[in-house]
């Protein structure tokens, strides 16, 4: 882990998952991976209502959010995100959400991302990687799994050669964003991506955040068609 993390206060985390065994497992694994001083668990919840209540009372830095949850309007994690819109921590930073699920089906991923989650990892992720992801999300950066990157390349037509003329275009990726996504899909960590493209990690993070923004705001047919079918828009 990088040195800057040592000086700062622990990241306050709320864990939302309806399986108690999984919640216990995540806490134990993170403690084992040396998260003691880096991450502090301040609350847990097992359904939508209690999750919203815990987040609003604890104002954590990061919420680890399961995609499928009982309660609410039946949309699990998306309902939690809707219920916590504009909730800020004591420091005035928005509460960030990292989605955590066994399912890597595109519908689930895109639903929580478009509802405001800053990243998506599957539950098979290792403890060290999860720790990195939590810190990244707490810093306001985005966390993409290889599969999410692959989905982005597909959905934006980047794999088929569609590229944006200007970076600001919401419905297509820029050439650089495409390169970054391709490397993430190949299993590269951010620092490996940076090294491969001769750019700084900060620049990689900027590109990924920009892709996340496009993923949330774009009205590309591939991203909106199924959402309309589920009355999410």
């Amino acid at each position: 882990m990088n040195s800057p993390a040592r000086g700062r206060p622990p990241i306050r985390v709320v864990l939302v998952d309806d399986h108690r065994m999984f919640r216990t497992g995540v806490r134990a694994e993170l403690a084992e991976a040396g998260a003691g001083g880096l991450v502090e668990f301040v609350g847990e919840a097992a359904d939508v209502e209690s999750a919203v209540a815990v987040v609003r009372s604890q104002l954590p830095d990061v919420v680890l959010l399961d995609v499928h949850l009982p309660g609410g309007l039946g949309q699990g994690g998306v309902d939690v995100l809707r219920g916590c819109v504009a909730v800020e921590t004591a420091a005035g930073v928005p509460v960030r959400f990292l989605a955590l699920s066994v399912s890597d089906a595109a519908e689930d991923v895109i639903a929580v991302i478009r509802a405001g989650a800053r990243g998506y990892v599957t539950k098979t992720i290792g403890a060290r990687d999860l720790l990195v992801a939590i810190r990244r999300v707490a810093d306001g950066d985005a966390v993409f799994s290889p599969r999410l990157a692959g989905f982005v390349l597909d959905a934006f037509g980047a794999a088929a050669g569609e590229l944006a003329e200007v970076d600001e275009e919401l419905d297509r990726l820029s050439a650089r964003e495409r390169e970054v996504m391709r490397l993430i899909a190949r299993g590269y960590q951010y620092k490996e991506v940076a090294k491969e493209l001769f750019i700084s990690i900060k620049t990689v993070e900027t590109h990924v955040s920009s892709v996340l923004r496009k993923l949330q705001l774009s009205s590309r047919h591939e991203l909106t068609a199924w959402a309309m079918g589920r009355k999410l828009i």
């Binding site: 399912s103 089906a105 098979t124 290889p146 599969r147 990157a149 692959g150 390349l153 597909d154 794999a159 088929a160 050669g161 391709r182 899909a185 190949r186 299993g187 590269y188 490996e192």
Partner: protein, 419 residues
């Protein structure tokens, strides 16, 4: 009474193209489709059959019991495609059918009203009002037979025109039957007497409807709930059967092999994949395209070695000889990665218009191609040489923390691009 029918398998009609089986034509018919069905079976025009039936009805009424008998006995059949007379569009036939129906109803209503006039000599007979009631009942029940039964069985929702014609039929039939009953009951009475009894009948009907409505609503609700419950139960049974065949069997295997961690990992991973593809539908495309082929290769390697491979595939294209070579080389690269490298093994295949790029990456100590003994043909032959033979290329990069194999294929030429 119409019997519930089973749609004849398509083969039946194909083996008997010249003479369709005797069945009611539920789409082409005016009332219950008996005449149209008989006409189709005999190979004559349906109007001829209809006129014959009408003539027989007038000459002693022999056609009426025959018609009712056939209606009750013959299975219904939805006419395949355009069963309308040749040269007549479906819409035209629909319109003419409506016209015939309205005319028939109007004639019936007029006849009924004529019967109500007490001076009519026919008013005294029992036969005519009975006939009117029967025709009314037939017309009203024909709706039940067709649209009603479909809706009740939870099949396709009746389309708007057929629903409208259903209401028309029901209304006409009910009016005819009502008139028939009135004629039967009020024979020989004055007009005011008829009017009084009509009012009384309507009042009784309304009262009965008012009393019975809650029962009807509850009965209807119960029926719907029961249908939903049975649909859910059958879905649950499907899921249970699937889980039993796959997940429970795998869990049993895992318990028996719990001392062998590799076998447990392999079983769990294979089961996870299978369950995922069942829940979320696997990679799209036919068996004969590239994306499912590379996915299958990765799954094979996973099953062989019990090492999970994180595979991401984007795009797809038809599987031809070059693609097959890529799949084989990809598989070889994966085998190397799981044998000599360390987890996690990641693989990314991008199939685009510019060509195919496949990457296989592991986190092992890596190997030096120059250091590989010359007798080890795996990498040189089955990866590099194979890709080059098919116009592609293979590159092996040694990184600080692992090895990455990169396979590329050029875009398909035109004749290959169209499957």
């Amino acid at each position: 009474m119409p019997t519930p029918y089973e749609r004849p398998p398509p083969g039946v009609e194909m083996t008997l193209p010249t003479r369709p089986p005797l069945a009611r034509d539920r789409d082409g018919g005016l009332v219950a489709g008996v005449c149209a069905g008989v006409a189709a079976h005999l190979g004559v025009r349906s109007s001829a059959v209809r006129w014959t039936a009408a003539a027989l009805t007038l000459l002693g009424g022999a056609a009426v019991p025959a018609y009712l008998f056939l209606w009750a006995v013959l299975p219904g059949r939805v006419s395949p495609g355009a069963q309308a007379a040749p040269g007549q569009s479906a819409q035209e036939s629909e319109r003419s059918r409506w016209l015939a129906l309205v005319l028939l109803g109007a004639v019936g209503v007029a006849a009924g009203i004529a019967l109500l006039v007490p001076t009519s000599s026919l008013g005294g007979s029992l036969l005519v009002p009975g006939l009117v009631i029967a025709v009314g009942a037939v017309i009203a029940w024909s709706t039940l037979d067709r649209a009603g039964r479909q809706a009740w069985l939870g099949e396709a929702v009746p389309t708007a025109p057929s629903a409208a014609s259903g209401w028309l039929r029901t209304g006409l039939g009910a009016a005819l039957a009502l008139i028939g009953i009135l004629v039967l009951v009020t024979r020989g009475q004055s007009l005011s007497g008829i009017w009084d009894s009509l009012l009384a009948a309507v009042a009784v009907l309304l009262g009965m409807a008012f009393i019975l409505a809650p029962w009807g609503v509850r009965l209807w609700g119960d029926l719907r709930r029961e249908q939903e419950a049975s649909a859910r139960a059958s879905e649950r049974a499907d899921i249970a059967a699937h889980l039993h065949d796959s997940v429970l069997q795998t869990l049993a295997l895992i318990q028996r092999q719990s001392t062998d961690p590799i076998a447990v990992t392999r079983l769990a991973r294979a089961q996870e994949r299978e369950l995922r593809s069942w829940l979320y539908a696997g990679p799209e495309g036919s068996e004969a395209s590239l994306a499912p082929a590379v996915t299958a290769a990765a799954h094979d390697v996973e099953d062989l070695h019990g090492v999970p491979i994180e595979l991401v595939v984007t795009g797809d294209r038809p599987l031809e000889a070059h693609g097959q070579a890529l799949v084989a080389a990809f598989r070889e690269a994966l085998l190397n990665a799981v044998r000599h490298g360390e987890a996690p093994v990641t693989a990314y295949v991008e199939i685009g218009p510019q060509g195919v790029e496949a990457f296989v990456r592991d986190r092992g100590t890596g190997f030096d191609l120059e250091g590989v003994p010359a007798d080890r043909l795996g990498v040189r032959q089955s990866i590099i040489a194979r890709m080059e033979r098919h116009g592609g290329a293979a590159r092996i990069r040694r990184r600080e923390d692992g090895t990455e194999v990169e396979l590329t294929l050029p875009a398909l030429d035109d004749e290959g691009a169209t499957p």
